[in-house]
């Protein structure tokens, strides 16, 4: 049978990222319903795995829907060429492996893992169009998606956002229970779009926070439980240029930030064609790339199953440990954090300037005003898994982590623009380029990790492994020996070593292990 496919709703042919050779085919009566019409047979597996379908959706969007001819998520498979241009030595890399446009890929990954994505950029750059496409991918018609989209505006009330009590009930009801609420339909949708969220009044933002953060809406003691959803918020200016300041808790709930990339004028012809022919891409999304609810559930499960190898997890730990530590913030070690300073409304930059003896260029923590929250780290992990899954792998690799971190931490890591790092030659650009700065931070962290040879020589890893094996059956002599090892290690580290963020976490982990063994020994003795 010839390979037949639609031309205008053309979906990239699987495999979009070929790796394994397909198995030899045997006679299958299901083949009767495979032919010119793609994926039409209900209840018959098309044989395309969901990561493949996700890639097909990506390629359809970049080829037919959103003109985004950028490949800023670069992967290399072996040697690659690069060229430099201009006085600033701007580097252009030609990736040697399949690479992607962050503006399309990140919203799609957000769709797959059902988190909260903020699209930022100037007006008319495709933020809303991109979000609408995600709604269509979830199986909604364009009309439904448009009607479900919430447009932020200064007069938006909580009722506008959530719904209204029925007027007759308001008059006649003798208790709150008797009031029926007419909930807004968008609350029940699996893709939720809030356009220009920074134009929503502060009070209404708080109601939005409950829906976004806790997945339910509350009005007059009535609760509406929302389904698990992928959120898309748009903002023309994320730096506070909206009508209202976005409350910090709401900003903190945003998992990933994507910036629109500029329009390459060499593609003006594509725009002209759309105008002349009246094409609305969201109206022509091929059914083959529309995900059923069960498929999105299954995809979420498969993404969670992607493995993070211990070595890579350790690298992420090392990176994340750099930022929270602030030596002058407290007397007791545990409180020597930026959070302590922040809660006391102290100027972190000024406090940090008081530190002496440390190499401020080498200390990555000196570049930020805050550390990473648990939520931020969990988001890094889930999006790293999603990117790996999308890429067709089942184990996260360093490149996946390196590519995803800047987008997840975009609004999570606040730079200290007065830090010495930004004054160094060539680094001023990182005051403006947040994505580039975070990627640079990660690269510097990895370089330090390699310099310390932590992949091969990390004494704490051995102690952790011993402890992870469990305390049951550990003899008193063995427990005491482990305590001695911990004390020796602390003694060794305390001799003249500067205290950096990673060491701060390591020292506290040793204290934790020491305490667990101490408690165990006490229990053993009194048993």
């Amino acid at each position: 049978m010839p390979s037949l496919k639609s031309t205008f709703q053309h979906v990239s042919v699987a495999p979009t990222n070929p790796r394994l050779k397909p198995q030899a085919k045997t006679f299958d009566v299901a083949d009767l319903y495979r032919g010119p019409v793609a994926d039409s047979a209900r209840g018959i597996d098309s044989g395309i795995p969901l990561d493949e379908k996700l890639r097909q959706a990506y390629f359809w969007i970049v080829n037919h829907a959103v003109i985004s001819p950028h490949y800023d998520i670069e992967y290399n498979d072996g040697p690659h060429h690069s060229y430099t241009f201009g006085d600033s030595k701007a580097k252009l890399t030609l990736p040697s492996a399949q690479s992607y446009s962050s503006f399309i890929l990140m919203p799609l990954l957000n769709f797959a893992v059902r988190r909260r994505c903020l699209l930022v950029g100037g007006p008319g750059r495709g933020k809303t169009s991109s979000a609408i496409l995600m709604g269509v991918l979830a199986g909604y018609s364009l009309k439904e998606v448009r009607r479900g989209m919430q447009h932020g505006q200064p007069q938006m009330t909580i009722s506008d956002l959530l719904g209204n009590p029925l007027p007759a009930d308001l008059v006649n009801a003798k208790s709150m229970d008797e009031i029926k609420i007419s909930w807004r339909k968008w609350l029940g949708m699996r893709v939720k779009i809030i356009d220009e969220y920074n134009r929503i009044p502060t009070r209404t933002q708080s109601a939005l926070l409950t829906v976004m953060g806790d997945n339910y809406a509350e009005l007059l003691d009535h609760i509406f439980e929302c389904p698990e959803s992928a959120w898309y918020l748009t903002a023309n200016d994320d730096a506070g240029g909206g009508t209202y300041q976005v409350i910090e808790a709401l900003r903190d709930r945003i998992d990933i930030v994507v910036k629109t990339l500029h329009f390459n004028t060499r593609f003006l012809n594509e725009l002209l064609t759309r105008i002349e022919e009246g094409i609305e891409p969201a109206e022509v999304v091929p059914p083959a790339i529309i995900f059923a609810e069960s498929e999105i559930d299954r995809m979420g499960d498969e993404i969670r199953d992607v493995a993070v190898p211990p070595g890579l997890r350790r690298r992420l730990e090392f990176f994340a440990s750099q930022f929270e530590f602030l030596e002058p913030a407290a007397d007791q070690l545990e409180y020597k954090t930026k959070d302590t300073a922040k809660l006391a409304s102290a100027d972190i930059h000024q406090l940090s300037a008081g530190e002496t003896g440390k190499d401020k260029l080498k200390d990555l923590g000196a570049q930020t005003k805050n550390g990473l929250s648990v939520r931020a780290l969990m988001t890094v992990l889930i999006f790293a898994k999603a990117l790996t899954y999308f890429h067709g792998n089942r184990e996260v690799e360093l490149d996946d982590l390196r590519q995803i971190i800047p987008f997840v931490l975009h609004d999570k890591l606040a730079p200290d623009p007065d830090a010495p790092f930004f004054e160094a030659p060539g680094n001023a650009v990182f005051r403006v380029d947040r994505v580039g700065w975070i990627r640079k931070l990660f690269d510097l962290s990895c370089a330090e990790y390699d310099r310390l040879n932590l992949d091969n020589d990390d004494p704490l890893t051995k102690l952790e492994a011993e402890f992870a094996a469990g305390l049951e059956g550990v003899a008193e002599s063995e427990a005491r020996a482990r305590l001695v090892k911990i004390e020796r290690l602390l003694a060794e580290w305390s001799k003249g070593r500067k205290l950096y963020g990673h060491l701060f976490d390591d020292v506290l982990k040793l204290k934790y292990l020491h305490q667990r063994y101490t408690n165990y020994l006490r229990w053993l003795v009194t048993k």
Partner: protein
Amino acid sequence: MPNALASTLAANRERFNSKFAAARHYKPALDGDAFADLLRGLVAPIVEAVHALAPDQTFAATDALYDLTLDLLAQDFLGPRSRHPLIASGWAHLLPKFARHIAADPRAIVGAITNALYNISTTPGARPGEWMRDMLALADHCPDSETLLKVGQILSWKSGLAHYRAAALDLCETLPPAVARLTLGFPADSSQPLDSVLRRLRAHPWHRPTLHPSRSTPELGIVARLGAFRGFGGLFIAPPLVFTSGDHFIVTDGEGSWLLTADAFGATFHRTDAQPSTGKTKSPFTIHRSGEVSGPNGKQQFPELTQYTSAAANETTLAVTIPHSHSVHLIAATDSERG
């Protein structure tokens, strides 16, 4: 144009215009007049039938049929340049009668039936007319679209797609027994025990369940002559040779090889790179140069098989080729004249 389609298109003008514009962008030669003709001639009656049964599904059916029509016209599967007239015929004759099933899942049902029409019409030796006739007769007996699609698969085997035989018999067991009996060709009031019918069909590929035996004991006979000279529309450039390959046969003419699957309902050839089985296949058949064949039910003389060039057998069938024929002769024991 009947009302249901026209009013749905008018109410969603922007959507449908955009779909056509996008289609024409990627396929500039897309013929707007031909598309309009297809909408009027093929799609409108289907939408009207769906609308009559399930008005709330009119938009979904229109949307799916509009997409599929554009798609199939762009690929020349429908329209004036189509080389597959059976697809249009199936849309015209089958789909309006399947309105109940289309209403349940328009894109899946129309897509599946279209693909089936394509596959059956492009399989040499298959009988698409018979498949359409039986589908029409059985559609109303199917309680849901899943059953309809299973019935379609079984009927495709009965209409000549012999390679689906094993899977089709398995599918029979998943249908309501009354529907399964109807699909196998028994009358509606038949009380034939399905288990024994299926057991016999599995054991004897040349058994036709609805034919009354004309012989008291099965006799050897030529049950099929398959293949022809390529110059006359067949597959083989030269008189072929035959070998065993599991339960099937591999036929080669020196230039190419085909896997042959065959039973009482038809035969299909599939190009293959597979090699003949090296081991000896268990078979009750032997053939002598004189054309005498020994089988499970005695011996029989076949004068046309004297000086045969190759022979291969499985448990139920002997395949033989001869020097001056481009056909493969299949011999089996049957209890009826037709085999």
